[in-house]
């Protein structure tokens, strides 16, 4: 397997699509703001567009031609580049995981895309955008072999060993059921993203889409009044909402978490398949989010904080462990996946004297708003007084939600912004802890505590405001005992 190989030719098409995606903004600018489409200016525009297309296609072909990979001396060697030649040699022991995903194009051709992640996370990893499944399988086997050799402390002789490897059993630990999938998609808030996308799109194109003519024909209809307009807007919003829901369902359909040796394998997607392999030792913590819609229904979303992923791939930075899970079953699933963590614990509530501070924080946010409304929009401005009970109950909910807990090696921190957030930290993964005490807090013997873990390419902070000042000492003692005995 040492002769250089190229990707499947369909990679050329993928290169073209990627290039177009990267140049979308300039292309839109040229098309929309190009102005005069007739005469000489129009011809020049066409020529420019044409040559850009030609350039993109030629580059894509050369890119495919130049991109070769091979396995040699225990390394994956990739050579690529059109203008700048790049050689990237990755030692097999350095590879942490191989992620397999299938886009629509790959699925149609029976291919897969594999992303190779090395330690360090932030480092650019290698991506083979289109190779056949058997090839991916072979690469995976080689990797597993190299890892085993490393564990045995032997010199990896990867090129010589061609023995079939015994596959480790993987255990299915979580599967997203259809009702949950539906509920998750319907309450995800993805509709906001879609709506803003549509708004941006429409505002981009209102110059070329003849809205006036379109609506001119319906002028009579519009005259029927605001009621019909409202109905129209409602139906439009409903359709967008449904589309967003379906989109989310396609994205998270067939969501499963498997545990295999010391790895978690998270797979999802109906049209576009994605598989993420996360070594257990890279898991830094667990984040449980209960948003306002899901919490009353008893459901939560669980995210995995792990040291890895790359900035180029946003999905790899925010990893869902359980997209939607009934809180009653959360502990059971968590035990199967990551037995180090316990979600089923009672939190230490805040002292009652913290409540006024929670109230105050919301009040300084809402009261100026109310004053401005009443001052400028009398008498309707008085309606803004409803914000007062809202802010009070919000503050109360935040106060009720906040708390912390220490169970064995785990620190739990819970707080609420709008959604309730619970973070589980394993003490061996906490990078640092901090307490913050303002003058007002000091008077009441309160302080805010926080802990940091690595997450993705940055960090994640867990924070509880206004706990007993002596609580930090307890956390500190627990934390230090850990690092001394380690």
């Amino acid at each position: 397997m040492s002769e250089p190989k190229r990707l499947h030719p369909i990679a050329m098409l993928l290169n073209v699509i990627k290039a177009i995606k990267d140049m979308l903004v300039p292309i839109i600018v040229v098309v929309v703001f190009g102005g005069d489409k007739d005469g000489l200016a129009g011809t020049i525009q066409l020529v420019i567009l044409g040559s850009i297309c030609l350039f993109v296609i030629v580059t894509a072909v050369i890119e495919w031609f130049r991109f070769t990979y091979r396995i040699e001396e225990g390394e994956l060697r990739i050579e690529s580049g059109v203008f700048v030649r790049k050689k990237r040699y990755i030692r097999f022991e350095r590879i942490h995981s191989i992620d397999v995903s299938e886009g629509i194009i790959q699925r149609l051709c029976g291919l897969v895309k594999i992303s190779i992640e090395t330690a360090g996370g932030a480092q650019a990893e290698a991506v083979l955008s289109a190779i056949c499944k058997e090839e991916a399988e072979r690469l995976n086997e080689r990797l597993a072999e190299a890892k085993r050799n490393k564990m045995l402390g032997e010199q990896p002789e990867i090129d010589l060993i061609a023995e079939p490897v015994i596959k480790q059993e993987s255990v299915m630990t979580f599967r997203l059921q259809f009702p949950e999938l539906f509920l998750m998609a319907a309450t995800s808030g993805a509709v906001g993203v879609v709506l803003s996308g549509v708004a941006a799109f429409v505002s981009q194109f209102d110059e070329i889409i003849p809205f006036e003519r379109f609506f001119g024909e319906y002028e009579d209809v519009l005259k029927l009044g605001t009621f019909l307009l409202a109905v129209f807007a409602f139906v439009a919003a409903l359709i967008v909402y449904m589309l967003a829901t379906i989109g989310m369902m396609l994205k998270y359909a067939q969501f499963t978490v498997e545990k295999k040796e010391d790895e978690l394998i998270i797979s999802r997607g109906l049209l576009e398949k994605r598989q993420l392999t996360i070594p257990l030792k890279k898991v830094q913590g667990i984040r449980i989010i209960e948003n306002v819609v899901r919490q009353p229904l008893g459901y939560a979303t669980v995210y995995l904080e792990y040291a890895g992923g790359s900035e180029a791939d946003k999905d790899s930075l925010k990893v869902m462990l359980f997209p939607l899970v009934n809180k009653k079953h959360l502990q059971k699933y968590l035990e199967q996946c990551l037995s180090d963590y316990v979600a089923d614990v009672e939190v230490e509530p805040l002292p009652a004297r913290a409540l006024p501070r929670y109230m105050f924080r919301r009040a300084i946010f809402f009261i100026p708003v109310i004053i401005v409304f009443i001052y400028f929009f009398r008498p309707w401005g008085y309606v803004s007084l409803v914000l007062l009970p809202i802010s009070i109950s919000w503050a109360f909910l935040q106060y009720k939600a906040a708390g912390w807990n220490i169970t064995n090696h785990q620190l739990l921190m819970r707080s609420r912004g709008l959604s309730k957030q619970t973070i589980l930290f394993h003490k061996s993964k906490i990078q640092s802890i901090e307490s913050k005490t303002s003058w007002a807090q000091q008077r009441k013997q309160l302080s805010s505590i926080s802990a940091l873990i690595k997450s993705g390419i940055a960090f994640r902070e867990g924070k509880v405001r206004d706990v007993e000042a002596k609580d930090f000492d307890a956390v500190q003692t627990w934390f230090l005992k850990n690092s001394r005995t380690k």
Binding site: S432, E434, K436
Partner: protein, 157 residues
Amino acid sequence: MELQNQISARTLKVWRIIGFLECLITWIITIAVLVLTIIFDWTPWIIGGMIVLSVIQPYLGIYLLPLIKWRRFRYEVRETEIEIQRGIFVIKRTLIPMIRVQHVETNQGPFLRKYDLASVEVSTAATVHTIPALDLQEADELRQYISKMASVEEEDV
């Protein structure tokens, strides 16, 4: 329990110089606004506010805030952990176990160099924690000490 070590007293001078330079910028802007107000007949409110700011800022930025900041900043480097206390209005206390330290470096900007000082920056996998100014020699020793203590145990992130 207060932490033991304070940062160098010369830090105060450096912070005051920086505070003075910031005031200088405010004064220049104030003069520019004053001139523009006279030429274009703007409302006097803006220039009034600017003048108040130019008077208050030196007191806060050169005298008071550096002093509080300097008094508040304390640190302790022990065998197994580093503890830092900092802040002006809000006191922040940070605890970093030695085994989480990934690397440590000393830095010297132009102002610090003039006063023979250096800052010590301790990086974990998540963030960087800074001790803003120590005697150059002390900073070097501290860097070497932390580096030695941190490398006792290597652990994957």
